[in-house]
Symmetry: D2
Subunit: 231 residues, 4 copies
Amino acid sequence: MKPIVAVNFKAYYPHSFGEKALKLAESAKRVWEETNVKIILAPPYTEIRGIAKYLEGSEVEVYAQHADPIEPGAQTGFIPLEGIRDAGAVGVILNHSEHRLKLADIGWLIKRAKKLGLKTLVCADEPETTAAAAALNPDIVAVEPPELIGTGIPVSKAKPEVITSTVDLVRKISKELTILTGAGISAGEDVYIAIKLGTQGVLVASAIVKAKDPYQVMKDMALKALEAWEK
Amino acid sequence: MKPIVAVNFKAYYPHSFGEKALKLAESAKRVWEETNVKIILAPPYTEIRGIAKYLEGSEVEVYAQHADPIEPGAQTGFIPLEGIRDAGAVGVILNHSEHRLKLADIGWLIKRAKKLGLKTLVCADEPETTAAAAALNPDIVAVEPPELIGTGIPVSKAKPEVITSTVDLVRKISKELTILTGAGISAGEDVYIAIKLGTQGVLVASAIVKAKDPYQVMKDMALKALEAWEK
Amino acid sequence: MKPIVAVNFKAYYPHSFGEKALKLAESAKRVWEETNVKIILAPPYTEIRGIAKYLEGSEVEVYAQHADPIEPGAQTGFIPLEGIRDAGAVGVILNHSEHRLKLADIGWLIKRAKKLGLKTLVCADEPETTAAAAALNPDIVAVEPPELIGTGIPVSKAKPEVITSTVDLVRKISKELTILTGAGISAGEDVYIAIKLGTQGVLVASAIVKAKDPYQVMKDMALKALEAWEK
Amino acid sequence: MKPIVAVNFKAYYPHSFGEKALKLAESAKRVWEETNVKIILAPPYTEIRGIAKYLEGSEVEVYAQHADPIEPGAQTGFIPLEGIRDAGAVGVILNHSEHRLKLADIGWLIKRAKKLGLKTLVCADEPETTAAAAALNPDIVAVEPPELIGTGIPVSKAKPEVITSTVDLVRKISKELTILTGAGISAGEDVYIAIKLGTQGVLVASAIVKAKDPYQVMKDMALKALEAWEK
């Protein structure tokens, strides 16, 4: 097992699209080559195919940012899990605080993703809802207090008890489930604390995507993750 | 503790409204007086006040059918939990298969209902999602495979393993949480089996609400519930 | 034809519920008796039946605050139009800025309400969307710039051109359709201007519902409405 | 002006994705080269960039299937209009019957698309709602009775009066707005009738996307469109 830095590209413009998005993928690949930390990238739907193609041969993983609870067919403006996989993603984020899902739909999507060989990363806002997500058997859960998202105030400093409570509650349901810390993660130090508090890594967005030098931020986070991991 | 017959009035017309709704409340009161089984009634918003007033002094409980995740204030066409309580309800059904909620909203509503002294009954469609609901600490969960709702094919006969798996998964999370069986419950016998499979009672709708003689069906269910309960 | 003061109770607590809601109805009845201005009250679902009963024999009209696009039947936590009518309402507000509806659903609801003998008041945010609403043949449209709702800054002063453009666009589609002005209406003077700008009256909420003396505010608005109307 | 064949790829699997999607674009390009009919393709988000790149230099236009009413920024799993344009689309379908939008959001999206230089094609289900859409000033409207979508029963035969009423109502609001006929369009003959009834062309999906030979169906439709157009 390795520490994880998961990067949600969100929909910043122009940062999350086209050339800029590809550039983020290049940085991620370089950081992976240099540190061997596990990196997950979640670009917008429009960029999945290009980025997945670029990353072929590397271990950097591409996830979709969201999935709707639909099957392929007469569906307009929705991408079914089959389409996400066809575009080259190996997983999908579900229930991000900016795109909440119904409980029943999260359950359905996790089961269906499993059948299709796609991994699932389920976000939640509190210890209890993260435990609820854990009860649905996803591959990864991420706890993200929504009031800290995008603030630059890391949950690992502002509300460490949210993380430790989450770890406690989730561990009662699953011993093995991967847990990530999200919301306000800005620097390597935040990643270090997140791992020390008992999670396997972080879910980050603006701190990397909108950085002047995304490579540097990602590299710093990866190195601190390793440092925390090895101690 | 007593067995439970919970009756979702839904929105049948004219059955669930006005005189007819009041008549259902009268039948429920009579069955409670005669059997002492715990009866929960969930009428439409428009009928809560009248029915709650009629039932004052009895132990028949009135729940709202749904709540939206809103606070009182500048909200149009939504009833906040405070309004539900003001009208005389003592609890609320959340996440019925005909009105699914987002995971985060179920979590928020349960916490807020608790603060306001309202009970919560959370529906879910499968063992895993019911376990997830249990992780949010409601007062009652009900497992209802949606494909059986309204069919008259009782889940207790068609899919008993859904109930037993649910009981197993929920009991890992909470020893005490009340569990109900829903979907297709049509007669006293279905209630009997539901209790024998390890749940405390049933969530019923059309079999009572659209019955020629709702009193008879409710009475039959209550008696069979007692029979199963006492053995 | 008479000028209109429509009062959206919203979901203020305790103002919009129970005794307080009934008190608002009493004030409305008194103002109607004294001025003969047309008054529409839109209480929460839980209060419709009680208020409609109280107002029997008066010309004050009760509307629901919202309707969902559903037929009676196996529906949980939604009130079909039949239920709204059964509770005593004679109309329904659709597409309030706090409860927006899909275009197709507004169309469906207007047609169905017409069949059931219910009136419809459709809110919209701008001249173009109000014209679009007019194309669906409701009984009343109300233009309410959402950024002014609840501010106490009346649209009739802050953005009179929104009202006049709306009147222009709507009149191209219908010569007769009743048009109301909403958002920020606080006092009789705002009602006066709203009518002078070519609409038939106002849609108000907090200025009346949360007033120390709702009767006085309503009376003031009704008198100014008459004054503007007669000139 | 030229007749239009607009092709909604929907989310058929594998038809609407990857190689198959590109193949559809090749066929469209060939039909355009051979007939000069205006062709609009609406692939899933994941295919927009690849297909738009392939079609560079042709006049075949790429539209997104849907847009959500969001601005770029901290948005997860939504593609803002800026991202749609960045991927190479020149327009967007709004309010398809499989992805309905709120009235206010359609208004907002049309205004914003206009600012960004993107065209809008708004679907609606009936004459009145199509007229309402027209009042919002999009570039194209398409009337599609949902009950015929995907049936192979062309609206142009089954309900020609829906089309003619739509044309009548829309023309009262705009003399110039492009109107398309959708739902059940299966063959060139249906396109011929659609144009004869007063619309500029068709919105098609399964009849082309799931055809054994999409090129042949598209070519047939384009030729019949020209035939109807020139008479």
